[in-house]
Amino acid sequence: MKYINKFDPQKDQVVRILDVDGKVIDEKLLPKISDKQLIEAYKLMNLSRRQDDFQNKAQRQGRLLSFLSSTGQEACEVAYALAMVKGQDWLAPGYRNNAAWLTAGMPMHNIMMYWMGNEFGGQSPQGVNLLPPNIIIGSQYSQAVGIAFAEKYKKTNGVALTSTGDGGMSEGEVYESMNFAKLHELPVVFICENNKWAISTPYAKSTKSLNVAVKGIAVGIPGIKVDGNDFLASYAVASEAIEFARQGNGPVLIEFDTYRLGAHSSSDNPDIYRPKPEYEEALTKDPLIRMKKYLIDKKLWTEKKQTALDEEQDLFIRQEFDYAEAHKDYPLEDVFNYLYETKTPELEAQYQEAAAFFAANPNAKGGHH
């Protein structure tokens, strides 16, 4: 092992491979990753960032409900999702994981439909083991534990990944999940994207803990802190953690040290609570810029390629959005059809009542459409 148990969270050691200018700090720490994968990762980071920007505009036009952006956190999200084995590993995400969902195989229009208020957006395609966004903070940790339990039980070799924020680490369920997972030596990777803020509550008001990674110590699982704005370090540690868990060594806790560059949600205004100098300093550590500089230095990328990519991706995003908008509404029966395998008689009667009502009053659905 190159990273786990080598970087001591009690000394607040951090795995970092790229400096803020995209220069490699320590060649020995570089992970195995092909040039092709590096470019793929960068494209996904860029795509998620542009999707966030697009959605912010769409939200202001009232074409999207609220959503939570990954802006600033793309490096670690793309990294851990790329390190998963598709079709075998699982992701139980939080709600702020756009880049990870995209990378793990959620079609963009699904994500958009979800934020437009259509439950079908939460359905991942066949062969992609991905749960919908989790709104209740902490419970994705216990779900991942259950998934991992089943993997071990069935000897199917998959690993479950799950992510929450620094604020989410205060939930009892998070601790209980880690404890249970270690007791059963389950193949699960617990992720905390420490973006420093839980809505308006700063890290210092959530915990007095030196860092998040040390929170593994009490339950006996290794914790490791990584520069989450450094794609290479994030990918290196995520890959090792997934394999560590797959080999039967039990869970790992990864803290990605990152920063939320956007608002908490589209209905939040961070200017009220977030110190401007802190934000401006965070801008200098933007993961996209670091990665781009690194790729340009390696002669894998050019500004010309960037312009072409931005155009291509913007077009793609618009197409996905158009598709989502055209499919955002659904008929009445869909709100009754997915509660039980077959409707109970009471529910059938309620459905018939509703169907008759809306047939007689076609505009009574009211609300916003």
């Binding site: 609220s66 437009m116 208020g117 439950e119 902490g138 604020g167 939930e171 809505i199 939040d268 009211g366």
Partner: protein, 329 residues
């Protein structure tokens, strides 16, 4: 007197309470510095300090457990649960401890806690942000549940809740937070817990409701009375869900002989079910039509695209009023 909307009435109530009782402490997610996601506690930390109004880490189970300890040790905690659907972890302490403490200690340790939380939908919110779970709370022995629909009642009921020697859950209809303003008296006053309010007097149908549906009912009734100038509908805003104003409802039904209960929570095992059962027990010989209800369906609250199907609206209420009045034995 000043003109306040519901959210400002919450702030005003808390301000008055913190001024009046040094023991009142206010906390919850983002409640301190920012004033909560709806800004209900805006300015309180500045005025009363971090010790009395503060951000809590995201750990709902602890809030109520901690509030319990505070309450039985002499404080008056007022806890904000950011959203009902995100507060399941708190149920452990609400159902398992808060409602039982007085009984378990045979009166030695009452638990005068106030929990405030938004309720209901129609605000285009995310999953689990539109729940109306009043029945879970109301079903639990030892807890009182209030649901104001106007700024006047909001302030008066919150102050009554804080004054109450028992735990009270205040459900605040999210849709009405900024819907309208009303004159609200300055300083301290209370609206008694357990007393309903007659919005309209009427002779032919009794409509019982609370929360955001008071507005829907008013619209439906105005439309109904326009169509039937010879008929009048009595509209009762319960204001307190538990203990509800049985006397007011029974007297009204004895007068009108007809009852409609309206709420957005799902139908089965609901507040409507409780009221209809009680009215059957108490007023059977007065009834001229079957008791009726307009509620949400027994479904998972749909996301925005489907929410309009589930939400109670004036058209649904109007249709039900027609059905009731046209009923023939």
């Amino acid at each position: 007197m000043k003109q306040l909307n519901n959210i400002k009435a919450v702030t005003d109530a808390l301000d008055v309470a913190m001024e009046k009782w040094n023991e009142v402490v206010v906390y919850g997610e983002d409640v301190g510095f920012e004033g909560g996601v709806f800004r209900a506690t805006e300015g309180l930390q500045k005025k009363y300090g971090e010790e009395r109004c503060f951000d809590a880490p995201i750990s709902e189970a602890i809030y109520i457990g901690a509030a319990l300890g505070m309450a039985l040790n002499g404080l008056k905690p007022v806890v904000e649960l950011q959203f009902q659907g995100l507060g399941w972890a708190s149920l452990q302490n609400i159902l398992g401890h808060m409602g039982r403490m007085r009984n378990r200690t045979r009166g030695k340790y009452p638990a005068p806690i106030v929990i405030r939380t938004p309720m209901g939908g129609g605000i285009r919110a995310l999953e689990l942000h539109s729940e109306a779970m009043e029945v879970i709370y109301a079903h639990t022995p030892g807890i009182k549940v209030v649901c104001p629909s106007t700024p006047y009642d909001t302030k008066g009921l919150i102050l009554a809740a804080i004054e109450s020697p028992d735990p009270v859950i205040v459900l605040e209809p999210t849709k009405l937070y900024r819907a309208f303003k009303q004159e609200v008296p300055d300083g301290f006053y209370t609206v008694p817990i357990g007393e309903g309010f007659k919005i309209f007097e009427g002779n032919d149908i009794t409509v019982v409701t609370y929360g955001a549906q008071t507005v829907d009912c008013q619209k439906a009734i105005e439309q109904f009375e326009e169509k039937h100038p010879d008929l009048s509908v009595e509209l009762i805003d319960l204001r307190t869900i538990k203990p509800w104003d049985r006397q007011m409802v029974f007297e009204s039904v004895k007068k009108t002989g007809r009852l409609l209960v309206v709420h957005e929570a799902v139908r089965s095992f609901s507040v409507a079910a409780e009221i209809m059962a009680s009215v059957t027990e108490e007023c059977f010989e007065y009834l001229k039509a079957p008791l009726a209800r307009v509620t949400g369906y027994d479904i998972v609250i749909p996301f925005d695209s489907g929410e309009g199907y589930h939400q109670v609206n004036p058209t649904k209420i109007f249709a039900k009023l027609e059905e009731i009045i046209n009923f023939k034995f």
